[in-house]
């Protein structure tokens, strides 16, 4: 629990400073996240990313003190997210809206950003359409098509998979993942031999895995939400003997996050995933980030939410520096467009046209390194854009 006390101490110091520096102009950032409910972990990890950035870079930018106001949506409730955004704008008079782990949260708040002309930094919500909902939205995470379209192409062209079966969670992101992977894969020449959707709330995967086994495909592509499900599906696959190299397993990165690898054990070896952030990537910036993050969070490792929050804060800080502290939404959005930097995830930039991220997608394979299972990068696909923007969806 040392991370907790540390965080509390940091928070306490923050409070003390804010009291001392009350004369100084403050700039408020309203952070809307699911701090409670079934997605509380996403909220907590993303918030930890925000806290770490502020701990490392101070809470003062361009002569202004940054104050974070946190609001809890309790889950994917657009009505609550919209209300919180409205309240942040009218009651707390925030200058920037941020957070948004879940797509419904971001979609709910988008109108408020437009109407109030506030910069809205989406730090996770990964449905492609989010940034099109308001000209004030900038996203620092990923889009599901961005990762999986590229992954589908790669799977056919580079890994030599000709036929694949898709198994995705039956909700928005799952549908997006299925269609974009299939699109990339079939455009390159591959063939989808079967497709199933698993209920989001009812995670016993054995029946679906058996269906995959019945079809005995060359490869199976998986998309499921993080949390408990990656380990569960991993084990179900292993029980059926559906493991690499006999059957190739392709998935978006959630499947092989550290906790899942720990409970899957050796059967996870050889699983290939695509992601925009790789915890184990050997890079000084990343190593430092991971170490600092673990120190601040009781040993817990950062994940996609953490890096989204971390880079989101970076974007806010850098944009404010550019505008010299002018927090007007239009100025900040202009400043954010085209901004590029090197993040712990690698090089990334904001597409000036779509306000979405352009970044490297990493193809990783689970391997044993020094007796521990890790995602080892086998290929980097640089400068990947979301393939859907600009298309009628």
């Amino acid at each position: 629990m040392s991370g907790k006390t540390l965080a509390a101490a940091v928070f306490g110091i923050g409070l003390a400073w804010s009291a001392a520096a009350s004369a100084q102009e403050t700039l408020k950032v309203g952070v809307i996240l699911p701090f409670s409910g079934p997605f509380a972990d996403a909220g907590a990890q993303l918030d930890a990313g925000i806290k770490l950035y502020m701990q490392q870079n101070g809470d003062e930018v361009a002569g202004k003190k940054i104050e974070i106001i946190r609001k809890d949506t309790g889950g994917p409730a657009p009505d609550v997210a919209k209300r919180l955004a409205q309240e942040l704008v009218v009651r707390d008079e925030v200058d920037i809206l941020a957070g948004f782990a879940l797509t419904p949260e971001a979609l709910g708040a988008a109108d408020v950003a437009t109407e109030a002309k506030k910069l809205m930094v989406v730090m996770n919500a990964a449905t492609s359409v989010v940034t099109e909902k308001s000209p004030y939205i900038v996203r620092t995470s990923l889009t599901i098509p961005q990762v999986n379209y590229a992954f589908g192409k790669w799977a056919f062209e580079k890994s030599g998979v000709k036929e694949a079966y898709t198994l995705v969670a039956d909700y928005g992101p799952g549908h997006d993942a299925e269609s974009s992977f299939a699109k990339g894969f079939t455009e390159a020449g591959g063939k989808i031999v079967g497709a199933d959707k698993t209920p989001v709330a009812n995670p016993d995967f054995s029946a679906f895995v058996q269906r995959v086994k019945d079809a005995s495909p060359e490869a199976v592509y998986i998309f499921i939400p993080g949390g408990a499900q990656p380990a569960a599906i991993g084990k179900a696959l292993a029980e059926r003997g559906l493991t690499p190299p006999a059957t190739k397993i392709l998935a978006q990165g959630e499947l092989t996050h550290p906790e899942a690898l720990e409970s899957m054990g050796d059967t996870a070896k050889g699983i290939i995933t695509a992601f925009h952030y790789t915890l184990e990537r050997d890079d000084p910036l990343n190593t430092e980030f991971v170490k600092a993050y673990r120190d601040a969070n009781g040993g817990r490792s950062p994940d996609l939410f953490s890096i989204g929050g971390y880079d989101g804060m970076h974007l806010i800080y850098e944009a404010l520096k550019k505008t010299n502290g002018d927090a007007a939404g239009d100025a900040l959005v202009e400043a954010a467009k085209g901004m590029s930097w090197t993040s712990p995830r690698g090089p990334m930039s904001i597409d000036p046209e779509t306000r979405d991220t352009i970044q490297t997608i990493y193809i990783r394979e689970v391997q044993e390194v020094d007796g521990k299972l890790q995602n080892v990068i086998v290929e980097e696909i640089p400068d990947v854009k979301d393939p859907l923007h600009g298309q009628a969806k």
Binding site: K82, E87, V90
Partner: protein, 328 residues
Amino acid sequence: MSEIARNSPDPRLWLKQRSRWSIVEIAFWLAALLPFFLFPAYLTLASQIAIAALFAVSVDLVLGYAGIVTLGHAMFFGLGAYAAGLISKAGWGEPLSGLVMAGVFAGLVGYVASFIIVRVQHLALIMITLGLGILSYELANAMSWLTGGTDGLQGVDTWPLFGAFEFDLWGKTAYSYALAGLFIGVMVCRRMVHSSFGLALRGIRENVRRMPAIGSDYRAHLQTVYAISAAIAGAAGALLTQTTDTVSLDVLSFQRSADVVVMLILGGTGRLYGGIVGAIIFLVARDQLAGINPQYWYFWIGVLLMVVVLVMPSGILGGLARLAGKRD
């Protein structure tokens, strides 16, 4: 109350008196206008409280008055919300007519569902309401081509109220609209509760076994009240859609069904205003506690619920009524 009874031999007068407006009631509705002046920055919250309160009142009709314990009423809230959203998406964004259509739609579905509901009791009833609620959620998820799935319905655009009042960022229009909706809803329920139908519902709740023995086809009453309750729940859902221009699967969730029952019991069942008081206390406490600590607020909500049960077993309104020394 008993004094009135002794002094007044006229039972009709006594019955009339029971349905008369009390000062507390009038004061309550006047106080409902205070947020416009005292808390102008809280109007959006107030509008969502009013909507939750209307939803709780609809549940009170079936749970508090007719004794149907339901854990699936979000089904009708959600149906109303989606109906309003889809009507608006189809190009008709006029709020009042959309509200009525959504309410009628939810009421019709409620009537159909009531054929099942009135034939079971106790745990089976609770579980069937819960099952139907979850089925409607899963159905909406499966029909994501229509509902937009977990991402929510896109393209909802509600026109200004009466063609003049935009739904503004401060929530003035939203609160006015939601409060008016709540007021009308409560007035409808109030009228119903104080009719012979309301009396029959109380009879059902008090002793369902006796009802047939006084010649009552009580299942028909239950079906009526279930349909009306569904319609009001649907109207509450439609209000949420129209004041926020958003709908997602969340409106159909088990969580919402459970929350509304918690609010209602918290405030006190069978009192019409219990649901409103419960919604106010639950949501204000939630907002304030989450403001202090967004991660652990529900610890204190849990403590609040437990303490209320131990200290005020008939809900907050029941407890207040007892404190005020009168038995309702």
